[in-house]
Structures are given as C-alpha cells and as structure tokens.
C-alpha cells in the first residue's frame, strides 16, 4: 500500500513533468488554503546556491517552542498566536542556522550550506574519509564545471583539477581525449588514469571499441552519460592511489553517480539545444592562385607554363572543397530523472538522449542511456545497494585509415589537398569524377558522403553491494559487478568512392565483446578511543577478470550498393576473416590504516599486493606500499592567536609506490604468428615466432613523493591548495631494441626510467558575498616537467615507428621529454650572397636561391640528418584555468577560461600543404613564396614536389588560452516556479569554445592525430575541425 501511494505520488509528478514539456511555462492553478486565526505566514526555504527547495527544515519562533517543518517542496505554513513581526530560527542539518525576521507572507528563506560540514567527507579508494584527516592529494571537479553540457565526462576534467591535463584529440563527435595526471609515466604502455565508477574499476581501453575500424579511435568513455555524475574525485599522490596498486600509477578518477536523497521525491527534466559552427577554417589557394603556383613549378622545371595569363584569370576562385564538406550542425540533449527516498530506501532512475551532428557531412554521435540506482537498509545492520547502467551510442565517423595504422589517411585532409580547379559537381548536381588529379574516377566529397562508417557501442555496467555491520565498529562489504561492452563496426565504401573503386564495393563488419567482472570484499574497523585517538582499518580481497573477443569479416566486388555491409553474401569475393580472444585476471589483497590523534596529527599507511596474469611467470605478484602524514596546524592551541587571519592551515607529506601493467595479455610468452606464401599459386600458411619470451616481465613501478599545503584565509573566504611532487618511474615496460641480426626488432623488457616533477596550485576565493550578489573565483595551475632518465644499457635514443614514406618527427631520447620533436632549424631562405659565400647546403639536393636555408647545427659544412636536434615537445610547461562565477539574485553567470603554455605542435598538415606539387592544392602562405618577381618572399620557391623536411617552421608554438565555456542562467523564484508546480526552474544559455587565443596556425591547438600514443603527442594531420557551440537549455524539478 505504501509503495502504491508512493508510486502514485511519483506518477503525479511525472505527469506534471510531461505536461511541462508539452505546454512550457504554462501556469497550473494554485489552490489557496482556508484562512485561520491570528497571524499566519507562509513561505519556502531554499538552498542559497542551488535554489533547490529543502525539505524537513525546522522553523521555530525565537524563544518559543512552537515549530514547523517544511514539506517536500520546501514550503511551510506557520499558524500561530504570535503577532508579527517575530524572529524565526531556521535550522537544518548541514546548513548554517539562520535567524529571519518575519513581517508577513511570503517569507522566502535561503539557507547556506555549512561548508565545513559539507566538505567533511570525501570519496577515497574503497571508502570515504574526513577531509580534515586526509593525508593525500585529492582534487574534486567543481560543481559548476560538472554541470556544463558535455558529450562525455572526460571533457569535463579539462581545467577542472590542477595536475590533470586533458587534450581533446579531435573535433569528431564522440572522439577520445588524452588525459594525463601529473604527466605521463610510461613510454610505451598505459598512461591514462584508472576510472572507478561507483566502485567498479575500469581501465579504459579504446581498443575494445575499435575492431577493424576506419578513422579516429572511438571513445569508450562516451558511453557514460555525464549528467548522471554527482561527483568526480581525482586521486593524485601515492598516499591516495597506492590502494589501487598496479593500476594506480597514472592517477585514479573516482566517479560517483547521483543517488536519491532521503525525504525527497523529485522528477527532474533537463534539456538543451545547441548549434555548432566551425571555429576556424584554413586559408588555401583558390584556382587562379593555384594555377600560378603550377606555372612557377613549371618555371623551375624549365618547361613551358601550364596556364597563359588569360587562362589564369579565367580560373577564378574555383572550387572551395573545404566549405563544401562543412555545415552548421545541431546538438540536442534531453534528460529525465526520478529520484527520492524514505527512511529506508533511496532510488534514482534516469534516462538520457543525446544527439550531436558533426560539422563535417555524414558524421555525428548519438547516445541513449538509462540508469537505476537503488539502496535499501534491510535492517539496522544490513544494507544493500545496486547501480545499473545501460547505454547505446552510435558514432558516424569521418573516413580515414585505422588510427594506429602506419599508413594513414584522412578524408578531410584529402579534401583540403584537392586542387580548386577540379569542379565539385557537374551542372546536373551529381559529383564530378573526372578530375585529372585523382587516381580513380571518384570525388573526395563523395568519399565522405557516400561511405558508411558507423560504430555502435552498447554498454551495461552494473554492480550490487551488501554491507553488514558485524559489530558496531566493524563492517563487512561485499560487491560484485560486471561491465559488458559490445562493439559493432559497419563500413561500406561503394564502388563510386576511392575506398571502394578498386574493390568494386568494399564492406566490412567488426564485432567486439568485452566482459569484465569484479568482486570486492572489504572489512572496515572504525573506532574512536576516548574521542582522542581515531582509528580506521581497511582490509580486503578483490579479484577481477576481463576478457575480450572480436571478429571481423569483409568482402568486395558487390554487384550494386543496395545491401552494403548488411549482407556480405552478395559479394563476389570474401576476404580472410579474423577473430581474436584475450583474457586477463587480477587478484589483489589490500590494507589501509588511518590513524588520527585529535584530528590534528593524521597518518595513513596502505599496502596492496596485486597478482596479474599478464606478467611473466616469475613476476606475477607486485607489492605497492604508501604512507602519508598530515598536520592540521590550525587546531593546535599555539595557533589560536593567528586564527583571526588564518582560518585553516594543514601540511601534508606522502610517499609511496604504484604500478602500471598495461601490456596486452600474452606479452611475456614466446608467441608465434601466421604469415602467408604461395605454392602452385595457392595460399599456404606459415607459422613463426614473433616475440621472445620473457618470464621476468613485471609491472612498471612509480615512486612518488608529495608535499602539500592547504591554507584557508579570512574565515575560509580564500582557500589555497599547493602541492609539489616528484615521481620516478622505473622498470619501464619498453620494447627494447635488439640487434636486428637476431631476427627480432625488439623484446618487451623492464628497463629505463622516466621522471615527472611539478607543482600544483589551486585557489578558491569568495570575492564578494552579499545577500544579493556573490562572486567566486577558482584558479587551477599546474606545472609538470617530464624527462627520460634512461632507456636501458647502450640505448640513448630511438625513433618511434613512422608512417611508411615518412621520417619520424619525434625522438625518445635520454634527457629529453618523451616524444620530443626532432628536426632541422632553418634560417630564412638562401640568398645569392649565401650561395656565393658557400653556406652549408642540404646534402644530395641541388639547392638554389629561394630555397630553405637549413642551420648547420654540428658545423661540419653540410646539412645532413646529423644536424637535426630537439625542437621542443608537445608537453606544456604549464597548464591552467580560471573560473569566475557570479550570482545576482536569480541570475547566475560562469565564465571558464582554460589554457596551456609552452607546448609545441608538429603541423604535419601545414607541411603537406606547403609542399608545392602539380597535383595538390596548397596553403595560402605560398602566396608569399620567393620568386624572381617576389625576391622578398619568405616561403621557399616553388619546385616540383620537394622532399618534406621536419623543420622548426612546422614545429609550432601550441600555447593557447581558450574561453571554454560561458553560461548565463536564470532561476525562477519559488513563487513563479510553483505556478507550474515546479520546485525549481532554471533556464540558461551557454557558449562553448567561444574564443581561442593562440599563435598556432592550424585549425585548433588541441590536437592529437595519434590519439593516446605517448610518443606521438601533438601531431596535427588534418584532424576533424573543432567547433564553437551556442546552446540554450532548461532544467526543471518537480
């Protein structure tokens, strides 16, 4: 019966929410109460920040016992014999008690949260801890950033927590981001942080979402609905992360989803519409400009010019391929959640639909998701809870070759390189396919629009937990969870596209199935001795198993394009299918002791033992200890005189070891692989070793030291957190080069070391705080220095594998940051005087006046590859963000700037666009090329297809400052909101990526063509352009 009434109540609210959708802002009739004797006032109590009504608030007339409490909508009615005016004392747990003078209805009261109490408890690994007792470095994503619209939650980490560097790899909707906590520790494997979602451990591996795919990597994290997230904590130092052992070295991101709250029944609907535009386009040559470039190339070849002056003029501007592929694209998000709770149970049910079209034709991202969180106190001692989440996301990707392929291509870059003299369409509107510059009779725009390249990810993540208090101080907790990620990738290139022409239609399908289950069992003992000594002991055993299997099938020679990938049996030729299977297991024992003396002196000691199946037979188990100490100086008696100005002061120090074992399964075994040959024109299979066994293979160890200071000034109106750290990662999992005459290129060994050191600063200030107006500022700043200390005996450097036909633009060298750009310095162009003087020239290339002048770095009189040197790295010198939030009565405004300084970008696209050829379009910078008629030109003269060189011209300054987000909101007063039956109603407009200040000449300084590859960060080869978004939304709670 109780359930029935409850359900009816919720249904009622739900219907109201639906009604709200249909008739926005329509006022519902409000019932008046019957008047009663003496004074009578009514009003509401709301949260001073969120403007959410608060239920259960006690209102008492000062010095009188008579009191009332607010209802679920925060409303109260006070009927009393007292005469107005009188003073109300308003109090509620977690809020500062307030006295209000009541003169008459309505009395609207704003309660401010008791910050000290609210921040009392933070989420840490396998539990929570009083903030004052913390010894580790933990950062939380601020609420205002968490509330920003985003496709995926990893976007929200950017600039949110100092020491967490996030780079959006491309503008492709649904694409991945590169995330580094306090710099990258590893060179070859695993630099991304560990994610813990409601206690479930996910080491995000985008490979699980890329099975035989085409184009940029799919972001498996985008399956999670960011609006479900209540809080994100980032564990940074060893004291906090060592409890995660062999997974902890790269930092831990703890995500807690929203839960129902006791005493509430809320139906929340939120939605926004956005319009995305291209933030920047590249300047390219138009048709007549390109024709003139072709003539200049002819001149240098000593042949007659292709175009006469009259023909040049007739070429006009020609085709703008870039514009033809781009569009303004809408974005929509809709979200409905129902949450609530009573004395014994709490629940939240949510659904989400997100649809973001891409600004390049035929691309986009959609997500459908649903969540149920439920918690029940079965008895006083026994509690059960479950979190279940399911989603399906569908990404239409820009066509290109596989993101980790050594031979890459990208349909957008191809488009930019198409000469403007080629028409885009025929007069009848069909695509023009007779360009003399394209090898097959196809059209690069048609390649984008006609090719299907879809990834569908279906994820179910669920866990159940049982918690039992064996003794008042001793709790046993058992959880079991499962994460299932299913990937389907469909690809079809019709015969009229360059990808399908030679194959007469090419279709492929890929299926991937990942399953991971986790069981965690912990015992927690929590006891206070005489309110003096506080002890918390955690011990546990956990075990996790993950398996991944995949299969791909492809076929070609289709009689027509009707069935594409849906029925491969129409194909004339079936290609060899593939399948794979890999499994891994991790067994762990963990323990932690937190001890605090009077909450003044705090000590945390933790240890974890991890056994991983992936490591060598002799080294399956690793041990990861840590210790942290903190001192709340302000709580000492001697500090009292200073308490006026310094409201809190805390010192923290910690040291510990964490690990990284993110190698693929079977890496330590002497594996054999198949190859093929032909005898009698028939295929035969050969099998031979591809890897030398290494039974000693073990995890990488990161030893980290951290010292921190938390300072609160002027009654905590200024809060400052400062950390300095040093990390050294040893036993790197590195593919150590072997002598090539061994028959192997490398062996996976544990050699070499990398260091990261840096400082972090976070400042929160309450600049202005009045009843009507408040202004808060949040500043995050981080500086990290990364350096390769050793690459093992006899190895001082190596070049990561470059795409075929290219020279590696990066080097990994001892003494330099991982992934340093490596190339020539240049010094303008060669002049006749230079040639006469006999300045060093590029070896093997006949250099003339107007060619690039390279710097002879080693002074040997000739320019060879020995003159290449470090040109900087993609790692920033510092990163930072500044957020200002203002509220004025019902208005709120937040402005979020984020930036990066000192990072370099290798602009491979610009290098390609500045290479004059007779077949490809070029950058508008070539308008200023040197020529006999333009002797002051600053760009090298036009020659036919010079060898592209990695030079300082293309290693550009990637520093930037972005206005990432500005949003203006209006929260309706309770009176207005209640007219439509709502407890809360907020509308807002927001702009994302509004302004970028940078010297970088490419589309966007946030770029990673090679995705998460740690050695190839900051390379731009025409990735998907970044967008600017304007959106408007509404958020209503019933």
């Amino acid at each position: 019966m109780e359930i029935y009434i409850h359900a009816k109540h919720v249904l009622n609210k739900f219907l109201k929410a639906l009604l709200f959708l249909i008739i926005p802002f329509s006022a519902l009739a409000q019932q008046k109460d019957v008047p009663v004797i003496n004074s009578r006032i009514e009003g509401t109590v709301v949260d001073s920040v969120s403007k959410q009504p608060i239920a259960g608030v006690t209102l008492r007339i000062k010095n009188v016992t008579h009191e009332v409490t607010t209802g679920s909508n925060g409303h109260f009615t006070f009927v009393t014999g007292q005469k107005l005016p009188y003073t109300l004392v308003v109090s509620f747990i977690g809020y500062k008690t307030k006295e209000v003078v009541a003169n008459g209805s309505p009395v609207n009261i704003q309660l401010a949260e008791n910050i000290a109490q609210l921040n009392d408890v933070v989420v840490v690994g396998y539990g929570t801890q009083k903030k004052s007792d913390l010894t580790g470095a933990i950062g939380s994503v601020p609420k205002n950033i968490l509330n920003q619209p985003a496709a995926s939650f990893d976007n929200l980490l950017q600039g949110a927590v100092s020491g967490v560097a996030v780079t959006q790899n491309s503008g492709q909707p649904g694409s991945s981001a590169t995330i580094r906590v306090r710099g990258g520790n590893s060179i070859s494997f695993g630099n991304a942080p560990l994610y813990v979602i409601d206690g479930f451990i996910i080491y995000n591996d985008n490979d699980y979402a890329n099975v035989g795919s085409n184009g940029t990597s799919v972001n498996a994290l985008s399956t999670i609905n960011p609006s479900d997230i209540e809080s994100i904590e980032v564990l940074k130092d060893a004291s906090a992360t060592a409890i995660y052992g062999s997974h902890g070295a790269n930092g831990v991101v703890i995500i807690t989803t929203k839960k129902g709250k006791k005493g509430t029944n809320n139906v929340n609907f939120s939605s926004y519409f956005g319009d995305q535009t291209i933030a920047k386009k590249l300047d390219l040559l138009d048709a007549s400009q390109w024709g003139s470039l072709v003539n200049d190339i002819n001149l240098s070849d000593g042949v007659a010019p292709t175009y006469t002056p009259a023909q040049l003029a007739a070429l006009g501007t020609g085709s703008n391929w870039q514009n033809a592929a781009l569009r303004n694209a809408p974005e929509y998000n809709g979200e409905l959640s129902i949450s609530g709770g009573d004395e014994k149970s709490r629940y939240l049910i949510s659904g989400n639909y997100f649809d973001q079209q891409g600004t390049i034709l035929n691309t986009g991202f959609k997500r459908y998701s649903a969540r149920v969180n439920y918690e029940k106190n079965v008895t006083d001692k026994f509690k059960i809870s479950t979190n279940v989440f399911g989603s399906q996301s569908i990404e239409n990707k820009l066509v290109g070759s596989a993101y980790n392929s050594i031979n890459f291509s990208n349909a957008f870059a191809t488009l930019l390189l198409t000469p403007p003299t080629s028409p885009i369409t025929n007069p009848d509107g069909s695509y023009y396919t007779n360009s003399p510059y394209i090898a097959t009779p196809t059209n690069p725009l048609q390649d984008i629009t006609a090719t299907t390249n879809t990834t569908t990810l279906t994820r179910v993540l669920g866990n159940v937990a049982g918690e039992y208090k064996i003794l008042p101080d001793l709790t046993l907790k058992v959880t079991a969870g499962v994460d299932i990620l299913n990937t389907v990738q469909d690809y079809y290139a019709p015969s009229n596209t360059s990808g399908g022409y030679a194959d007469q239609g090419y279709a492929s399908i890929g299926n991937g199935n990942e399953l991971s289950w986790l069981n965690e069992n912990t015992l927690t003992y929590d006891h206070a001795f005489n309110n003096t000594n506080f002890l918390n002991i955690l011990a546990g055993y956990t075990t996790q198993y993950t398996r991944f299997s995949s299969s791909t099938a492809s076929a070609q020679k289709f009689p027509n394009d009707l069935t594409s990938y849906n029925n491969l049996s129409y194909a004339g030729v079936a290609n060899l299918p593939t399948s794979s299977f890999a499994s891994q297991a991790l067994d762990s024992y963990l323990a932690r002791v937190n001890y605090s003396y009077l909450h003044i002196y705090n000590l945390t000691v933790s240890a974890r033992a991890d056994g991983s199946s992936k490591l060598g037979a002799n080294n399956k188990w690793g041990y990861f200890p840590s210790a942290g100490f903190s001192w709340n100086i302000d709580k000492n008696d001697f500090f009292k005189p200073l308490a006026q100005d310094i409201s809190s002061l805390k010192l923290r120090v910690s040291a510990g070891q964490t690990g990284n074992s993110e190698v693929p399964p079977y890496s330590s075994l002497a594996a054999l692989a198949p190859t093929n040959y032909y005898f009698g024109s028939k295929l035969v299979t050969g099998i031979s070793p591809v890897q030398i066994d290494n039974p000693n293979l073990k995890w990488e160890t990161t030893t980290q030291y951290d010292a921190g200071l938390d300072l609160g000034l002027f009654n905590n109106r200024v809060n400052l957190t400062f950390d300095a750290y040093y990390k050294k990662t040893t036993d790197l999992l590195l593919n150590v080069p072997l002598p090539l005459y061994s028959g192997y290129a490398s062996e996976l060994e544990n050699v070499g070391s990398v260091e990261n050191k840096g400082i972090e600063l976070g400042i929160n200030t309450d600049n202005v705080k009045t009843d009507h107006f408040s202004w808060k500022t949040n500043i995050e700043f981080a500086e990290n220095r990364n350096k390769v200390l050793s690459l093992g005996p006899g190895v001082s450097s190596y070049f990561p594998v470059a795409p075929t036909g290219q020279v590696s633009p990066v080097i990994v060298q001892v003494g330099l940051p991982v992934g340093t750009f490596w190339g020539y310095s240049t010094q303008g162009l060669l002049t006749a005087a230079d040639i006469a003087k006999g300045v060093p020239l590029l070896n093997g290339v006949p250099q003339k006046v107007g060619d690039t002048r390279y710097v002879d770095n080693n002074h040997d009189g000739v320019i060879t590859t020995a003159d290449k040197h470090s040109l900087g790295s993609a790692q920033p010198k510092f990163t930072g963000s500044i957020t200002n939030t203002f509220s004025y009565n019902q208005f709120d405004l937040s402005v979020f700037f984020q930036g990066s300084y000192g990072n370099k970008i290798f602009n491979l696209l610009q290098q390609t666009l500045e290479r004059p050829t007779l077949t490809q379009n070029a950058s508008a910078t070539l308008l200023n090329r040197w020529s006999p008629t333009n002797p002051n030109g600053t760009v090298a003269r036009a020659t036919d297809s010079p060898v592209p060189q990695v030079t300082d011209r293309y290693v550009e300054n990637g520093s930037y400052l972005k206005l990432k987000n500005a949003s203006l909101g209006y929260t309706f007063t309770n009176n207005l909101a209640s007219k439509i039956g709502a407890k809360k109603l907020r509308i807002y407009v927001s702009g994302q990526n509004l302004l970028t200040i940078t010297k970088y000449s490419g589309l966007d300084p946030e770029v990673n063509f090679y995705d998460n590859d740690n050695t190839k960060q900051g390379i731009d080869y025409g990735t998907y352009p970044a967008v600017r978004t304007f959106l408007a939304g509404v958020d209503v709670t019933f």
């Binding site: 070849d301 042949v303 001692k381 026994f382 031979n407 003399p436 510059y437 394209i438 090898a439 049982g466 039992y468 058992v478 022409y501 030679a502 069981n519 075990t543 076929a555 070609q556 290609n575 060899l576 890999a582 297991a585 067994d587 199946s613 079977y666 330590s668 075994l669 002497a670 594996a671 054999l672 198949p674 190859t675 093929n676 040959y677 032909y678 009698g680 024109s681 295929l683 299979t685 050969g686 031979s688 591809v690 030398i692 000693n696 080069p737 090539l740 005459y741 061994s742 028959g743 192997y744 190895v795 001082s796 190596y798 070896n843 093997g844 590859t865 020995a866 007779l918 297809s945 060898v947």
Partner: protein, 494 residues
C-alpha cells in the same frame, strides 16, 4: 526481513566471495595465440615452419613493403645507374638512395638488413627445430634443405651488400638473449657457410608437383652456387655448377618470347629457376607487390612509383629489341573508355615488367600476381659466357653461343664476333643490364667488376655525382653500431 540472522548474511556474503574467486588463475592459457612450446610437433608444423621461411621473401612482419618486390630494389636498382626519383618520392631516405647520399641512419638500408636477417632467423628456426619432429624422413630432410637454400640466398645478399656481417645460425630466446652482441664475421667465413648450405640444398628434388611449384629445387641450388662462385671469381667452380644446371636434365630453356618471363599465366615456367611468388590474392592475406605500382592510374596528372627510369637506360635499347616494350611502357589501353592513354612527362617511360594487365580494374596493381624472378635461365647463359671468357682469356665459341641465345630471343643480331676478352666482358655486362632491369642484379654486377666501375657508372648521371668508392658497400645500420660496440662501420660511413 528484520529477522534475518546475522550469521546467514555473513555466510551469504562470504559464500559469494568463495564462489567467484575460485575461478581466477594467474597462469595464462592463450587460446588465440600459439606458443612455441606447443609447436614443432607434427608434419604440418614442420611444413608451416618452412612456409614461414619463404614468406619472409614477399612480406614484412611490420606491414612494410617486402624485401623482394620493393626494398631490395631500392638498394640494388635505385642506388645503381638504372633509376632516379619522381615527384611521388617523398621519403628523404628513399631519395638519398637515388642520389647516393645515404648515410648509416638511412631507414631503407636498415630495413633491408632487418628483412634479410628476419628471413635468416626463420630459416635458422626451421633448420634447428624440424629435425626434432617425428615425421617422414624424406620430407623432413627436404624441408630442412629448402630452409638452407633460403638462408644461403639471404646471406649471399647480405655479404654482397654489407661486406662482413654477423653470422647468426640459431634463434635467440630468453636464456641466451644477453649473448647476442657479436662482432662481424669475415666475409670468407660467411661464404663458407653459404656454400655449405647450398651444397646440402643440391640434394633437393629436381622438380615438384603442381601444388608445390615455387619451392627451391636442386637446380636452383646449383644456379645460386654458380653465382656465389662467380662473385668470388672462382670461374672453374662456377662453370662446373652452370654445366650441371644446363646438362643436368632439368629441361630449363628460354621462353621464346621475353614477354612470357613476366606474366602471371606463365609463372614458374621453363625459364624460371627460382622466383619469389606473388599472387592476385583477392580475399586472402598478406604479400603486396609494389614494383607493379609503376602503373596506378589512367590519370596522366598523377605520378606512379617513386623510383622511375633514368632515361639513359631506355636509350640503350634499339627499337627492334623486344625487351624494350616488355621493360617499359608509355601507352596503356583503357578498356573503360576504349582509348589508349599516353604518358609523356619527364619521368616516362614507366617500368612495365611487374604490371599485371589481367587485373580489373587495372589500377589495383598491389594485387599483381607477377612473380619476382630471382634466378632465370637467361642468367645461367650469361654467367656461362662470362665464366668461359674469364677462364680462357677470351670468348670461346660456347661463350658466344650462350650470349647469342639471349640476344636471339630478344630479336637482336648476334654479338660482333672476334671480340677480345675485355670487350666481350663489357658486352656481357651490357647484355645483363638490358636483360635484368628491375630484377635486382645491376648494383651487384657493377660492384663485382671491382675498381671504379660502380662509381664511374654512377657519375654518368648528374644527380648521382655524390657517389664515391665507399658506395661499393652499404653502411651497417646506425642502430646496430650504436647498441653493439663490437660492430665496426664500413669505410667512409659514420
């Protein structure tokens, strides 16, 4: 619900722990990967192990272009006087080979070294492991000898390209990996090993059934052995081996048409003694012919392969030499339009031998099924003429017969009679150059003549003026020198 016994709850919770955790084991049982301890057990394993040896000739484990079909030609053809570079040549390391400015860090010089040793390693593994397998002893002996043939072929390439090289005869593993750093073995010792392997390989079958066509034969072993002796200027031993090939009942002969030596339909034919196999591998895996990509499109505005002909080469041929139109093209019939497309620019004519005209569309040339001929009967005849000329202080009538067989097939006149030894020698090398374009002979033929022959030939092309005497050997790859102090560099390189 309030009456739940606490013990039941504890039991329930701990029970679920035990139930779940008993599943996890930390030892790996790879279901999708074969591990060496599971392998080398059966006849099928032995065959697969040897197939893998052959596959190193036409594919690269890292997905790069194959040794035969691209990489070897970069050194032996592009760094000779046959080839230059085109606008599609964007890799500075490839261009450095064409302009004789390559250094020890050159990635292609390194790749060839790596691919040769990769194949040698696979051969070593087969030679060490196959004899331990319980199987038909005849087949077992044959498989080992096939592997020895490939090992000898690859060491022969190595020793000619790089000089003294480390002689590695066994597969490294985790127990001996630290003993890998060795010095260069004198070339003479490498040759001793090559000859020993080839002598064993002469016990291979003379021929195979149709399903095994393409395997190494005793004829291939004798021919390669002759080439080894010829390179060492051991003329009598070379002649002995060549006579065994010619008179040994193998039935080798020249195709009546030069054209047939480079066709998919006539592969493994009467003239082919040993070829690296390529197939139009529709739907199947691996092996990419790249030399065939000298045709890529009917669009004359795009440039095909990056290492085009040096025009002086085309001009060597007389118009009636049938080899000219087989070796080069400048006109291709476009079936889609019914028209002939004529290519005419600074880089034409284009190479033709590996273009597979049976493909549709013709632009799918990576699927070319034209084999790469490593040993051809024309080579046997020209080697015989050369050996006779050297043994007898001048050409014998047998020497003339041999060279004229090759010339007659090309439909050109017999060689001028009565040449002295030097003039005959020059004629042979000119004939070899014209006969074997793109077949991986030219640089070797220039170098083995000794003296300044290579440098003089290169200096005839202005873009190759950087050539010096150091170019008679390629540098040991820099990465090898850097991690192994025992390896010393070749003269003239750093």
């Amino acid at each position: 619900m309030k009456n739940i016994s606490p013990y039941k709850i504890i039991l329930l919770l701990t029970g679920s722990v035990v139930g779940l955790t008993s599943c996890n084991k930390l030892s790996e049982d790879p279901k999708s990967v074969i591990v060496s301890s599971q392998f080398y057990q059966t006849t099928s394993d032995a065959t697969s192990a040897v197939n893998a040896v052959y596959s190193t000739l036409n594919s690269d484990p890292a997905g790069d272009f194959p040794l035969y079909g691209r990489q070897l030609n970069l050194l032996v053809e592009n760094a000779s006087d046959n080839q230059l570079y085109s606008p599609s040549n964007t890799n500075p390391d490839v261009r450095a080979l064409g302009t004789e400015t390559y250094i020890s860090a050159n990635s292609r010089v390194q790749k060839v070294w790596q691919q040769l040793y990769y194949g040698i390693n696979r051969a070593n593994i087969a030679i060490d492991n196959v004899p331990t397998i319980q199987m038909d002893t005849t087949l077992r002996a044959r498989l080992v000898r096939e592997s020895k043939f490939i090992r000898a072929l690859l060491y022969f390439d190595l020793v000619r390209l790089y000089g003294d090289v480390p002689l590695v005869l066994h597969n490294p593993n985790s127990t001996n990996i630290d003993n890998l750093l060795t010095a260069r073995t004198p070339a003479a010792d490498v040759y001793t090993q090559i000859i020993a392997d080839l002598e064993d390989a002469t016990n291979l079958p003379k021929s195979y059934s149709s399903t095994d066509l393409g395997r190494a034969t005793s004829g291939a072993a004798h021919t390669l052995l002759a080439k080894v002796y010829l390179t060492q200027q051991d003329w009598p031993d070379a002649l002995t081996q060549l006579n065994l090939v010619i008179n040994g009942g193998y039935g080798y002969a020249l195709f009546p048409n030069y054209y047939d030596a480079f066709q998919k339909a006539t592969k493994n034919g009467v003239e082919h003694i040993f070829s690296v196999q390529f197939e139009t591998n529709l739907g199947e895996a691996n092996s990419t012919q790249y030399l065939s990509e000298s045709f890529t499109s009917f669009n004359t505005g795009t440039f095909p392969i990056d290492i085009p002909v040096d025009t002086s080469l085309y001009n060597l041929f007389s118009a009636n030499d049938t080899r000219r139109s087989v070796t080069f093209y400048n006109t291709v019939y476009n079936a889609a339009t019914g028209q002939n497309v004529v290519y005419n620019n600074a880089y034409t004519p284009y190479f033709n031998k590996f273009v597979d005209y049976s493909l549709s569309p013709l632009s799918s040339q990576s699927l070319s099924g034209v084999n790469y001929p490593v040993l051809r009967y024309a080579d046997v005849l020209l080697m015989k003429a050369e050996a006779l000329n050297e043994i007898n202080g001048g050409p014998t009538s047998d020497a003339y017969t041999a060279i004229n067989q090759v010339r007659t097939r090309a439909q050109i006149a017999n060689l001028t009679p009565g040449l002295n030894q030097a003039a005959f020698r020059d004629s042979i090398f000119l004939e070899r150059r014209k006969e074997f374009i793109q077949e991986g002979h030219r640089w070797f033929d220039l170098v083995r003549q000794g003296g300044t022959v290579l440098v003089d030939a290169l200096h005839k092309i202005s873009a190759k003026s950087a050539a010096t005497s150091k170019n008679t050997l390629f540098p040991i790859p820099l990465v090898e020198i850097q991690q192994n102090a025992k390896l010393k560099q070749n003269p003239g390189y750093n």
